[in-house]
Amino acid sequence: MLDATTHRFACLPDAPGVGYKPQHFTEIVNDAGPVAWLEIHAENYMGDGGRPIAQLRHLSERFAFSVHGVGLSIGGEGPLDSEHLARLRHLVGWLDPASFSEHLAWSTHDSAFLNDLLPLPYTEASLARVAEHVDEVQEVVGRRMLLENPSSYLTFEESTLAETEFLREIAKRTGCGLLLDVNNVFVSATNLGTDPVSYIDAFPLELVGEIHLGGHDDDEDDHGAPLLIDNHGREVADPVWSLFEYTISQSGPKPSLIEWDNDVPEWPVLKAEASRAASVLETANA
Protein backbone atom coordinates (compact mmCIF):
# COMPACT_ATOMS: atom_id res chain seq x y z
CA MET A 1 0.00 0.00 0.00
CA LEU A 2 1.23 3.42 -0.98
CA ASP A 3 1.75 5.95 1.77
CA ALA A 4 -0.88 8.65 1.48
CA THR A 5 1.61 11.35 2.40
CA THR A 6 4.01 10.66 -0.47
CA HIS A 7 1.80 10.21 -3.52
CA ARG A 8 0.30 12.95 -5.62
CA PHE A 9 -3.46 12.98 -5.61
CA ALA A 10 -5.36 13.28 -8.87
CA CYS A 11 -6.02 16.93 -9.51
CA LEU A 12 -8.08 17.14 -12.67
CA PRO A 13 -10.52 20.09 -12.53
CA ASP A 14 -14.16 19.30 -11.66
CA ALA A 15 -15.06 20.18 -15.23
CA PRO A 16 -15.59 18.40 -18.54
CA GLY A 17 -12.77 16.76 -20.43
CA VAL A 18 -12.70 14.84 -23.70
CA GLY A 19 -10.79 11.88 -25.04
CA TYR A 20 -8.19 13.53 -27.24
CA LYS A 21 -8.18 12.69 -30.95
CA PRO A 22 -5.37 14.05 -33.14
CA GLN A 23 -7.82 15.21 -35.84
CA HIS A 24 -9.18 17.77 -33.33
CA PHE A 25 -5.78 19.28 -32.52
CA THR A 26 -6.23 22.65 -34.25
CA GLU A 27 -9.81 23.14 -33.13
CA ILE A 28 -9.00 22.29 -29.53
CA VAL A 29 -6.18 24.83 -29.56
CA ASN A 30 -8.43 27.49 -31.08
CA ASP A 31 -11.77 26.76 -29.49
CA ALA A 32 -11.81 24.35 -26.58
CA GLY A 33 -15.19 25.61 -25.35
CA PRO A 34 -15.93 24.16 -21.90
CA VAL A 35 -13.25 21.47 -22.26
CA ALA A 36 -10.77 21.96 -19.43
CA TRP A 37 -8.70 18.79 -19.69
CA LEU A 38 -7.83 15.99 -22.08
CA GLU A 39 -7.42 12.26 -21.75
CA ILE A 40 -5.13 10.11 -23.85
CA HIS A 41 -4.81 6.38 -24.20
CA ALA A 42 -1.32 5.80 -22.86
CA GLU A 43 -0.42 3.18 -25.46
CA ASN A 44 -0.82 5.62 -28.38
CA TYR A 45 1.92 7.83 -26.94
CA MET A 46 4.61 5.27 -26.35
CA GLY A 47 6.48 5.81 -29.59
CA ASP A 48 9.88 7.50 -29.52
CA GLY A 49 8.86 10.80 -31.11
CA GLY A 50 7.08 12.38 -34.05
CA ARG A 51 3.67 14.00 -34.23
CA PRO A 52 1.90 12.21 -31.33
CA ILE A 53 4.55 13.28 -28.83
CA ALA A 54 4.88 16.77 -30.36
CA GLN A 55 1.12 17.36 -30.07
CA LEU A 56 1.09 16.08 -26.53
CA ARG A 57 3.95 18.36 -25.47
CA HIS A 58 2.17 21.33 -27.03
CA LEU A 59 -1.24 20.60 -25.52
CA SER A 60 0.14 19.77 -22.09
CA GLU A 61 1.22 23.38 -21.69
CA ARG A 62 -2.43 24.41 -21.73
CA PHE A 63 -4.52 21.52 -20.58
CA ALA A 64 -4.47 19.20 -17.61
CA PHE A 65 -3.99 15.64 -18.82
CA SER A 66 -5.28 12.28 -17.81
CA VAL A 67 -3.24 9.27 -18.90
CA HIS A 68 -5.60 6.35 -19.33
CA GLY A 69 -3.98 2.98 -19.91
CA VAL A 70 -5.81 0.35 -21.95
CA GLY A 71 -3.16 -2.36 -22.14
CA LEU A 72 -1.77 -3.20 -18.71
CA SER A 73 -4.01 -6.21 -18.06
CA ILE A 74 -4.30 -5.56 -14.33
CA GLY A 75 -6.91 -8.31 -14.08
CA GLY A 76 -4.63 -10.84 -15.78
CA GLU A 77 -3.83 -14.19 -14.16
CA GLY A 78 -0.19 -13.82 -15.13
CA PRO A 79 2.34 -11.25 -13.90
CA LEU A 80 2.23 -7.67 -15.17
CA ASP A 81 4.37 -6.91 -18.21
CA SER A 82 7.43 -5.20 -16.72
CA GLU A 83 8.40 -3.62 -20.04
CA HIS A 84 4.99 -2.10 -20.33
CA LEU A 85 5.11 -0.84 -16.77
CA ALA A 86 8.43 0.81 -17.57
CA ARG A 87 6.86 2.52 -20.60
CA LEU A 88 4.03 3.81 -18.40
CA ARG A 89 6.50 5.07 -15.86
CA HIS A 90 8.37 6.90 -18.63
CA LEU A 91 5.23 8.52 -20.08
CA VAL A 92 3.86 9.54 -16.70
CA GLY A 93 7.32 10.74 -15.76
CA TRP A 94 7.82 13.22 -18.59
CA LEU A 95 4.19 14.29 -19.09
CA ASP A 96 3.45 14.57 -15.36
CA PRO A 97 -0.31 14.22 -15.90
CA ALA A 98 -2.92 15.23 -13.36
CA SER A 99 -4.27 11.69 -13.30
CA PHE A 100 -3.34 8.15 -14.27
CA SER A 101 -5.92 5.40 -14.60
CA GLU A 102 -6.39 1.84 -15.81
CA HIS A 103 -9.12 -0.79 -16.02
CA LEU A 104 -10.44 -3.61 -13.90
CA ALA A 105 -9.99 -6.03 -16.79
CA TRP A 106 -7.43 -8.22 -18.54
CA SER A 107 -6.19 -8.12 -22.09
CA THR A 108 -2.95 -10.13 -22.19
CA HIS A 109 -2.62 -13.86 -21.68
CA ASP A 110 0.24 -16.20 -22.66
CA SER A 111 1.95 -13.13 -24.17
CA ALA A 112 -0.87 -12.48 -26.66
CA PHE A 113 -2.44 -9.04 -26.35
CA LEU A 114 -6.13 -9.23 -27.27
CA ASN A 115 -6.88 -5.48 -27.51
CA ASP A 116 -10.12 -5.69 -25.54
CA LEU A 117 -11.06 -5.23 -21.90
CA LEU A 118 -11.92 -8.76 -20.82
CA PRO A 119 -13.88 -9.66 -17.69
CA LEU A 120 -12.75 -11.43 -14.55
CA PRO A 121 -14.63 -13.25 -11.79
CA TYR A 122 -15.00 -11.42 -8.48
CA THR A 123 -13.57 -13.82 -5.91
CA GLU A 124 -11.19 -13.58 -2.95
CA ALA A 125 -8.44 -15.02 -5.18
CA SER A 126 -8.91 -12.47 -7.99
CA LEU A 127 -9.21 -9.70 -5.41
CA ALA A 128 -5.83 -10.61 -3.93
CA ARG A 129 -4.24 -10.77 -7.38
CA VAL A 130 -5.67 -7.45 -8.61
CA ALA A 131 -4.66 -5.74 -5.36
CA GLU A 132 -1.11 -7.01 -5.80
CA HIS A 133 -1.05 -5.72 -9.36
CA VAL A 134 -2.39 -2.31 -8.36
CA ASP A 135 0.27 -2.11 -5.63
CA GLU A 136 2.94 -2.94 -8.19
CA VAL A 137 1.67 -0.34 -10.68
CA GLN A 138 1.60 2.38 -8.04
CA GLU A 139 5.08 1.45 -6.86
CA VAL A 140 6.59 1.44 -10.34
CA VAL A 141 4.73 4.40 -11.79
CA GLY A 142 5.26 6.25 -8.55
CA ARG A 143 1.82 7.64 -7.99
CA ARG A 144 -1.70 6.79 -7.02
CA MET A 145 -3.84 5.38 -9.80
CA LEU A 146 -7.56 5.26 -10.49
CA LEU A 147 -9.15 1.90 -11.33
CA GLU A 148 -12.17 1.88 -13.67
CA ASN A 149 -15.30 -0.25 -13.41
CA PRO A 150 -15.85 -2.36 -16.56
CA SER A 151 -18.90 -2.82 -18.76
CA SER A 152 -20.19 -6.37 -18.49
CA TYR A 153 -21.98 -8.61 -20.95
CA LEU A 154 -21.98 -11.69 -18.73
CA THR A 155 -21.14 -12.84 -15.21
CA PHE A 156 -19.02 -15.65 -13.81
CA GLU A 157 -20.80 -18.34 -11.81
CA GLU A 158 -17.78 -18.50 -9.53
CA SER A 159 -18.07 -14.83 -8.46
CA THR A 160 -18.76 -14.34 -4.77
CA LEU A 161 -18.44 -10.55 -4.48
CA ALA A 162 -20.42 -7.69 -5.96
CA GLU A 163 -18.41 -5.45 -8.27
CA THR A 164 -18.85 -2.46 -5.98
CA GLU A 165 -17.58 -4.48 -3.00
CA PHE A 166 -14.67 -5.72 -5.08
CA LEU A 167 -13.64 -2.20 -6.14
CA ARG A 168 -14.10 -0.81 -2.64
CA GLU A 169 -11.86 -3.52 -1.22
CA ILE A 170 -9.16 -3.00 -3.89
CA ALA A 171 -9.12 0.71 -3.04
CA LYS A 172 -8.95 -0.07 0.66
CA ARG A 173 -6.05 -2.48 0.29
CA THR A 174 -4.00 -0.41 -2.18
CA GLY A 175 -4.94 3.20 -1.55
CA CYS A 176 -5.90 3.61 -5.21
CA GLY A 177 -8.77 5.82 -6.29
CA LEU A 178 -11.60 4.85 -8.61
CA LEU A 179 -12.74 5.94 -12.03
CA LEU A 180 -16.51 5.65 -12.30
CA ASP A 181 -17.71 5.04 -15.86
CA VAL A 182 -21.41 5.87 -15.67
CA ASN A 183 -22.08 4.47 -19.14
CA ASN A 184 -20.46 1.20 -18.07
CA VAL A 185 -22.73 1.13 -15.01
CA PHE A 186 -25.79 1.57 -17.20
CA VAL A 187 -24.61 -0.95 -19.81
CA SER A 188 -23.78 -3.59 -17.19
CA ALA A 189 -27.00 -3.06 -15.23
CA THR A 190 -29.11 -3.35 -18.38
CA ASN A 191 -27.21 -6.40 -19.58
CA LEU A 192 -27.29 -8.23 -16.25
CA GLY A 193 -30.76 -7.16 -15.15
CA THR A 194 -29.67 -5.13 -12.14
CA ASP A 195 -30.46 -1.59 -10.99
CA PRO A 196 -27.98 1.12 -12.03
CA VAL A 197 -29.07 3.54 -9.29
CA SER A 198 -28.43 0.90 -6.61
CA TYR A 199 -24.98 0.40 -8.11
CA ILE A 200 -24.23 4.13 -7.78
CA ASP A 201 -25.60 4.08 -4.22
CA ALA A 202 -23.28 1.19 -3.34
CA PHE A 203 -20.25 2.77 -5.05
CA PRO A 204 -17.69 4.53 -2.82
CA LEU A 205 -18.19 7.93 -4.47
CA GLU A 206 -15.72 9.57 -2.11
CA LEU A 207 -12.95 7.62 -3.87
CA VAL A 208 -13.96 8.72 -7.37
CA GLY A 209 -11.30 10.86 -9.05
CA GLU A 210 -12.89 10.89 -12.46
CA ILE A 211 -16.13 10.05 -14.26
CA HIS A 212 -16.47 8.65 -17.78
CA LEU A 213 -19.40 9.14 -20.12
CA GLY A 214 -19.64 7.46 -23.51
CA GLY A 215 -22.06 6.11 -26.09
CA HIS A 216 -23.25 2.52 -26.45
CA ASP A 217 -24.96 0.40 -29.12
CA ASP A 218 -28.11 -1.71 -28.76
CA ASP A 219 -28.28 -5.43 -29.42
CA GLU A 220 -30.13 -8.46 -28.03
CA ASP A 221 -29.04 -11.74 -26.47
CA ASP A 222 -30.33 -15.25 -27.35
CA HIS A 223 -33.52 -14.70 -25.37
CA GLY A 224 -34.32 -11.28 -26.80
CA ALA A 225 -33.11 -9.50 -23.66
CA PRO A 226 -31.43 -6.15 -24.33
CA LEU A 227 -27.68 -6.38 -24.76
CA LEU A 228 -25.95 -3.01 -24.78
CA ILE A 229 -22.50 -2.78 -26.32
CA ASP A 230 -20.06 -0.26 -24.90
CA ASN A 231 -18.50 1.01 -28.14
CA HIS A 232 -17.84 4.73 -27.55
CA GLY A 233 -19.17 5.36 -31.04
CA ARG A 234 -21.98 7.86 -30.57
CA GLU A 235 -23.57 10.45 -28.27
CA VAL A 236 -24.10 9.60 -24.61
CA ALA A 237 -27.58 8.06 -24.29
CA ASP A 238 -30.32 9.95 -22.39
CA PRO A 239 -30.67 7.42 -19.54
CA VAL A 240 -26.90 7.65 -19.04
CA TRP A 241 -27.19 11.44 -18.74
CA SER A 242 -29.90 10.90 -16.11
CA LEU A 243 -27.69 8.49 -14.22
CA PHE A 244 -24.83 11.00 -14.46
CA GLU A 245 -27.07 13.73 -13.01
CA TYR A 246 -28.03 11.41 -10.18
CA THR A 247 -24.39 10.52 -9.55
CA ILE A 248 -23.30 14.15 -9.48
CA SER A 249 -26.17 14.99 -7.15
CA GLN A 250 -24.74 12.41 -4.73
CA SER A 251 -21.02 13.01 -5.23
CA GLY A 252 -20.80 16.69 -6.06
CA PRO A 253 -18.95 17.85 -9.19
CA LYS A 254 -16.19 15.59 -10.54
CA PRO A 255 -13.84 15.70 -13.51
CA SER A 256 -16.12 14.22 -16.20
CA LEU A 257 -14.94 12.86 -19.52
CA ILE A 258 -16.71 12.37 -22.84
CA GLU A 259 -15.25 9.28 -24.51
CA TRP A 260 -15.79 8.96 -28.24
CA ASP A 261 -13.31 6.54 -29.81
CA ASN A 262 -15.10 5.07 -32.84
CA ASP A 263 -16.73 7.00 -35.70
CA VAL A 264 -15.16 10.06 -34.11
CA PRO A 265 -17.33 13.12 -34.89
CA GLU A 266 -16.40 16.64 -35.89
CA TRP A 267 -15.15 18.79 -33.03
CA PRO A 268 -18.41 20.80 -32.57
CA VAL A 269 -20.34 17.58 -31.87
CA LEU A 270 -17.87 16.48 -29.22
CA LYS A 271 -17.76 19.98 -27.78
CA ALA A 272 -21.57 19.99 -27.51
CA GLU A 273 -21.41 16.77 -25.47
CA ALA A 274 -18.85 18.41 -23.19
CA SER A 275 -21.16 21.43 -22.83
CA ARG A 276 -23.96 19.15 -21.74
CA ALA A 277 -21.69 17.65 -19.10
CA ALA A 278 -20.70 21.17 -18.05
CA SER A 279 -24.30 22.14 -17.44
CA VAL A 280 -24.85 19.10 -15.22
CA LEU A 281 -21.72 19.91 -13.23
CA GLU A 282 -22.82 23.55 -12.87
CA THR A 283 -26.17 22.47 -11.46
CA ALA A 284 -24.32 20.59 -8.76
CA ASN A 285 -22.24 23.69 -8.02
CA ALA A 286 -25.30 25.93 -7.73
Binding site: E43, N44, M46, G47, D48, G49, G50, R51, P52, I53, A54, V70, G71, L72, S73, G76, E77, G78, D81, H84, R87, W106, S107, T108, H109, D110, S111, A112, F113, L114, N115, D116, L118, P119, P121, S152, Y153, L154, T155, F156, E157, E158, N191, L192, G193, T194, D219, D221, D222, H223, A225, L227, I229
Partner: protein, 249 residues
Protein backbone atom coordinates in the same frame (compact mmCIF):
# COMPACT_ATOMS: atom_id res chain seq x y z
CA UNK B 1 -17.43 -24.11 -12.39
CA UNK B 2 -14.50 -21.76 -12.90
CA UNK B 3 -13.38 -20.20 -16.17
CA UNK B 4 -9.68 -19.51 -16.37
CA UNK B 5 -8.13 -17.06 -18.80
CA UNK B 6 -6.55 -19.82 -20.89
CA UNK B 7 -10.02 -21.22 -21.61
CA UNK B 8 -11.45 -17.77 -22.21
CA UNK B 9 -8.68 -16.80 -24.58
CA UNK B 10 -8.85 -20.03 -26.62
CA UNK B 11 -12.56 -19.59 -27.19
CA UNK B 12 -12.07 -15.91 -28.07
CA UNK B 13 -9.72 -16.45 -30.96
CA UNK B 14 -11.38 -19.58 -32.32
CA UNK B 15 -14.88 -18.81 -33.59
CA UNK B 16 -15.60 -22.56 -33.93
CA UNK B 17 -14.64 -23.39 -30.35
CA UNK B 18 -17.42 -23.96 -27.83
CA UNK B 19 -18.12 -21.02 -25.55
CA UNK B 20 -16.78 -21.61 -22.02
CA UNK B 21 -19.21 -23.01 -19.44
CA UNK B 22 -19.55 -21.18 -16.15
CA UNK B 23 -20.61 -17.85 -17.64
CA UNK B 24 -24.17 -16.60 -17.36
CA UNK B 25 -26.41 -13.67 -18.19
CA UNK B 26 -26.84 -12.41 -14.63
CA UNK B 27 -30.26 -14.08 -14.43
CA UNK B 28 -29.04 -17.67 -14.16
CA UNK B 29 -29.17 -18.50 -17.87
CA UNK B 30 -26.02 -19.51 -19.80
CA UNK B 31 -24.29 -16.50 -21.38
CA UNK B 32 -24.70 -17.88 -24.91
CA UNK B 33 -24.00 -15.32 -27.57
CA UNK B 34 -23.12 -12.71 -24.98
CA UNK B 35 -19.65 -14.27 -25.12
CA UNK B 36 -19.52 -13.35 -28.81
CA UNK B 37 -19.44 -9.65 -27.87
CA UNK B 38 -15.85 -10.24 -26.71
CA UNK B 39 -15.02 -12.37 -29.74
CA UNK B 40 -16.33 -9.63 -31.95
CA UNK B 41 -14.54 -6.84 -30.07
CA UNK B 42 -11.21 -8.64 -30.38
CA UNK B 43 -11.59 -9.43 -34.09
CA UNK B 44 -12.98 -6.01 -35.02
CA UNK B 45 -10.47 -3.95 -33.04
CA UNK B 46 -7.48 -5.91 -34.35
CA UNK B 47 -8.81 -5.80 -37.92
CA UNK B 48 -9.21 -2.04 -37.62
CA UNK B 49 -5.66 -1.71 -36.35
CA UNK B 50 -4.46 -3.56 -39.47
CA UNK B 51 -6.63 -1.38 -41.71
CA UNK B 52 -5.05 1.72 -40.23
CA UNK B 53 -1.57 0.24 -40.59
CA UNK B 54 -1.89 -1.08 -44.14
CA UNK B 55 -4.17 1.24 -46.13
CA UNK B 56 -2.46 0.48 -49.44
CA UNK B 57 -2.55 -3.31 -49.00
CA UNK B 58 -6.23 -2.91 -48.19
CA UNK B 59 -6.80 -0.92 -51.36
CA UNK B 60 -4.83 -3.41 -53.46
CA UNK B 61 -6.74 -6.50 -52.30
CA UNK B 62 -10.11 -4.82 -51.67
CA UNK B 63 -12.01 -4.37 -48.42
CA UNK B 64 -13.65 -7.83 -48.33
CA UNK B 65 -10.43 -9.68 -49.04
CA UNK B 66 -8.61 -7.56 -46.50
CA UNK B 67 -11.07 -8.60 -43.82
CA UNK B 68 -10.44 -12.29 -44.62
CA UNK B 69 -6.73 -11.70 -44.65
CA UNK B 70 -6.85 -9.78 -41.36
CA UNK B 71 -8.96 -12.50 -39.76
CA UNK B 72 -6.34 -15.13 -40.66
CA UNK B 73 -3.46 -12.84 -39.68
CA UNK B 74 -4.70 -11.92 -36.23
CA UNK B 75 -5.14 -15.58 -35.31
CA UNK B 76 -1.73 -16.61 -36.60
CA UNK B 77 0.09 -13.52 -35.33
CA UNK B 78 -1.85 -12.00 -32.43
CA UNK B 79 -0.19 -8.88 -31.03
CA UNK B 80 2.67 -9.55 -28.62
CA UNK B 81 2.57 -6.02 -27.24
CA UNK B 82 -0.19 -3.65 -26.13
CA UNK B 83 1.26 -1.08 -28.53
CA UNK B 84 -0.95 -1.25 -31.59
CA UNK B 85 1.63 0.89 -33.40
CA UNK B 86 3.75 -2.28 -33.64
CA UNK B 87 0.97 -4.67 -34.64
CA UNK B 88 1.38 -6.16 -38.10
CA UNK B 89 5.16 -6.55 -38.18
CA UNK B 90 4.79 -10.07 -39.58
CA UNK B 91 2.54 -8.95 -42.43
CA UNK B 92 5.22 -9.20 -45.17
CA UNK B 93 6.07 -12.84 -44.42
CA UNK B 94 2.40 -13.63 -43.87
CA UNK B 95 1.47 -12.21 -47.29
CA UNK B 96 4.23 -14.24 -48.92
CA UNK B 97 2.64 -17.43 -47.59
CA UNK B 98 -1.08 -16.69 -47.36
CA UNK B 99 -2.49 -18.78 -50.20
CA UNK B 100 -5.06 -16.29 -51.63
CA UNK B 101 -2.44 -13.49 -51.72
CA UNK B 102 0.62 -15.42 -52.83
CA UNK B 103 -0.05 -14.78 -56.51
CA UNK B 104 0.46 -11.06 -56.01
CA UNK B 105 4.24 -11.03 -55.73
CA UNK B 106 4.67 -7.38 -54.77
CA UNK B 107 2.31 -7.40 -51.76
CA UNK B 108 4.97 -8.35 -49.17
CA UNK B 109 7.26 -5.52 -50.26
CA UNK B 110 4.42 -2.99 -50.30
CA UNK B 111 3.63 -4.14 -46.75
CA UNK B 112 7.30 -3.61 -45.84
CA UNK B 113 7.03 -0.07 -47.17
CA UNK B 114 3.87 0.60 -45.15
CA UNK B 115 5.59 -0.75 -42.03
CA UNK B 116 8.60 1.48 -42.74
CA UNK B 117 6.33 4.54 -43.01
CA UNK B 118 4.63 3.69 -39.71
CA UNK B 119 7.97 3.14 -37.94
CA UNK B 120 9.26 6.42 -39.31
CA UNK B 121 6.16 8.23 -38.00
CA UNK B 122 6.87 7.10 -34.42
CA UNK B 123 10.67 7.34 -34.54
CA UNK B 124 12.65 9.65 -32.26
CA UNK B 125 13.03 13.32 -33.21
CA UNK B 126 16.41 14.65 -34.27
CA UNK B 127 17.80 18.04 -35.26
CA UNK B 128 19.08 17.96 -38.89
CA UNK B 129 22.28 19.69 -39.96
CA UNK B 130 21.82 22.78 -42.12
CA UNK B 131 22.74 22.75 -45.82
CA UNK B 132 25.32 25.46 -44.97
CA UNK B 133 27.14 23.08 -42.63
CA UNK B 134 27.49 20.58 -45.44
CA UNK B 135 28.55 23.24 -47.96
CA UNK B 136 31.21 24.51 -45.58
CA UNK B 137 33.10 21.22 -45.86
CA UNK B 138 35.93 20.95 -48.41
CA UNK B 139 35.65 17.96 -50.80
CA UNK B 140 38.51 16.29 -48.88
CA UNK B 141 36.84 16.84 -45.54
CA UNK B 142 33.53 15.54 -46.89
CA UNK B 143 35.18 12.38 -48.25
CA UNK B 144 36.65 11.64 -44.84
CA UNK B 145 33.54 12.53 -42.86
CA UNK B 146 31.04 10.11 -41.41
CA UNK B 147 27.51 11.05 -40.59
CA UNK B 148 24.69 10.16 -38.25
CA UNK B 149 21.36 9.60 -39.95
CA UNK B 150 17.93 10.46 -38.56
CA UNK B 151 16.18 7.74 -36.50
CA UNK B 152 13.18 8.20 -38.80
CA UNK B 153 15.15 6.92 -41.81
CA UNK B 154 14.00 3.61 -43.28
CA UNK B 155 15.17 1.89 -46.44
CA UNK B 156 13.11 -0.64 -48.39
CA UNK B 157 14.60 -2.35 -51.44
CA UNK B 158 12.45 -4.30 -53.84
CA UNK B 159 12.53 -5.99 -57.24
CA UNK B 160 9.03 -4.51 -57.67
CA UNK B 161 8.00 -0.89 -58.37
CA UNK B 162 6.80 -0.49 -54.79
CA UNK B 163 7.12 3.27 -54.62
CA UNK B 164 5.06 3.70 -57.81
CA UNK B 165 2.48 1.20 -56.56
CA UNK B 166 2.28 2.97 -53.21
CA UNK B 167 1.96 6.44 -54.78
CA UNK B 168 -0.62 5.28 -57.32
CA UNK B 169 -2.80 4.17 -54.40
CA UNK B 170 -2.45 7.22 -52.18
CA UNK B 171 -2.15 10.15 -54.62
CA UNK B 172 -4.90 11.32 -56.89
CA UNK B 173 -3.71 11.29 -60.53
CA UNK B 174 -0.37 9.58 -59.84
CA UNK B 175 1.21 7.73 -62.76
CA UNK B 176 0.38 4.06 -63.02
CA UNK B 177 3.30 1.82 -62.01
CA UNK B 178 5.62 0.34 -64.65
CA UNK B 179 7.60 -2.83 -64.01
CA UNK B 180 10.93 -1.87 -62.46
CA UNK B 181 12.87 -2.56 -59.30
CA UNK B 182 12.55 0.32 -56.85
CA UNK B 183 14.50 1.24 -53.75
CA UNK B 184 12.61 3.56 -51.42
CA UNK B 185 13.83 5.59 -48.55
CA UNK B 186 11.52 7.02 -45.95
CA UNK B 187 12.40 10.00 -43.83
CA UNK B 188 10.53 12.58 -41.79
CA UNK B 189 11.46 16.11 -42.84
CA UNK B 190 8.73 17.45 -40.56
CA UNK B 191 6.19 15.37 -38.72
CA UNK B 192 5.00 13.32 -41.69
CA UNK B 193 7.09 10.47 -43.07
CA UNK B 194 7.83 10.94 -46.77
CA UNK B 195 8.79 7.98 -48.99
CA UNK B 196 11.06 8.82 -51.93
CA UNK B 197 12.45 6.55 -54.66
CA UNK B 198 16.24 6.37 -54.72
CA UNK B 199 18.36 6.67 -57.85
CA UNK B 200 20.59 3.71 -58.59
CA UNK B 201 23.41 3.30 -56.10
CA UNK B 202 21.47 5.35 -53.55
CA UNK B 203 20.47 2.37 -51.42
CA UNK B 204 24.08 1.10 -51.30
CA UNK B 205 25.24 4.60 -50.38
CA UNK B 206 22.76 4.95 -47.51
CA UNK B 207 23.33 1.39 -46.30
CA UNK B 208 27.06 2.11 -46.08
CA UNK B 209 26.45 5.36 -44.17
CA UNK B 210 24.15 3.52 -41.79
CA UNK B 211 26.97 1.09 -40.95
CA UNK B 212 29.29 3.99 -40.13
CA UNK B 213 31.23 4.30 -43.40
CA UNK B 214 32.70 7.68 -44.38
CA UNK B 215 31.22 9.54 -47.34
CA UNK B 216 34.22 8.44 -49.40
CA UNK B 217 33.77 4.75 -48.59
CA UNK B 218 30.00 4.97 -49.06
CA UNK B 219 30.59 6.60 -52.46
CA UNK B 220 32.88 3.72 -53.44
CA UNK B 221 30.20 1.20 -52.50
CA UNK B 222 27.58 3.13 -54.44
CA UNK B 223 29.83 3.44 -57.52
CA UNK B 224 30.57 -0.31 -57.39
CA UNK B 225 26.83 -0.95 -57.45
CA UNK B 226 26.03 1.59 -60.14
CA UNK B 227 28.18 3.34 -62.72
CA UNK B 228 25.62 6.13 -62.83
CA UNK B 229 25.74 6.93 -59.13
CA UNK B 230 25.25 10.67 -58.78
CA UNK B 231 26.43 11.90 -55.38
CA UNK B 232 25.02 15.46 -55.57
CA UNK B 233 21.54 14.16 -56.34
CA UNK B 234 21.52 11.79 -53.38
CA UNK B 235 23.12 14.34 -51.04
CA UNK B 236 20.53 16.95 -51.98
CA UNK B 237 17.80 14.43 -51.30
CA UNK B 238 19.24 13.58 -47.88
CA UNK B 239 19.50 17.26 -46.96
CA UNK B 240 16.00 18.11 -48.19
CA UNK B 241 14.58 15.19 -46.30
CA UNK B 242 16.46 16.32 -43.17
CA UNK B 243 18.09 12.91 -42.87
CA UNK B 244 21.61 14.05 -41.92
CA UNK B 245 21.73 14.92 -38.26
CA UNK B 246 25.41 15.02 -37.36
CA UNK B 247 28.55 15.19 -39.44
CA UNK B 248 31.96 14.44 -38.09
CA UNK B 249 35.49 13.48 -39.01
Amino acid sequence: MTVDQTTFRKALLDPDAARPDGLNDGRGQPAGRRFDVYRNNVAVSLTEALEVGFPVIRKLVGQDNFKLLASAYLRLHPPRSPLMMHFGADMPSFLAEFEPARQIGYLPDVARLELAIRESYHAADAEPISPAELEALSPEALTGASVRLAPSLRLVRSPWPIFSIWRFNVEEGAQSPKMAAEDVFVSRPNLDPVPRPLPSGGAEFITALLTGATFGDAMDKASEASRNFDLPVVLTLLVEMKTLIEIGG
